[in-house]
Symmetry: C2
Subunit: 110 residues, 2 copies
């Protein structure tokens, strides 16, 4: 048998990044601390899924959540060191996309 020879760490990283929105959330946070609604409107994710993703990223120690008790409450999300360490991944994808992805053939057939 030549079964699962894929490194578990790599597989875990892939399964994280293969979740819809995860990479985009991190990419947005590379721009700096942001709030829930800011992330939501910048990438067009639903509140429900954003909530899920942020919870998981917090658990993975990729995102840090800070509550500022003013009114209405402000909650700031930012990247941890581990989160920032993912920047090369996003940049590599960014570079590749510029070199190889053809723009969406905008079929503006009226």
């Amino acid at each position: 048998m030549t079964q699962p020879t894929i490194c578990p760490k790599f597989e875990k990283a892939i399964s994280l990044l293969s979740q819809r929105w995860t990479a985009l959330v991190i990419y947005q946070l590379l721009l700096g601390t942001q709030r829930f609604s800011g992330i939501q409107s910048s990438i067009g994710i639903s509140g429900k899924v954003l909530s899920d993703r942020l919870k998981e990223l917090e658990q993975q120690d990729i995102v840090k959540r800070v509550v500022i008790p003013v009114t209405p409450v402000i909650i700031e999300y930012s990247l941890t060191d581990k989160g920032h360490s993912m920047e090369p991944i996003l940049r590599t994808i960014e570079n590749w996309s510029q070199a190889w992805v053809e723009p969406e053939s905008e079929l503006s057939a009226d």
Copy 2:
């Protein structure tokens, strides 16, 4: 409004890589030409989804499909130039995972 300012090419790349299995399929093909059943057993993907993924990757000119009319038929899948150009993405993820991902805490509670 500070709406969708994300580059369409980048978004397209992300949406491709955010599909479950896509990155692993490409990663496997970095090892060289492989057949349907080989990919299937190496990463544990269902035939149905692998079929979908390979079709999309073919459309995106990332994967090449070659039919060898012997019996039983052999169908070889390999990366195109565009496919190979994604290697840095996978390597960057691989490197990051080695440095930052903690191995699955194997809860072997008897």
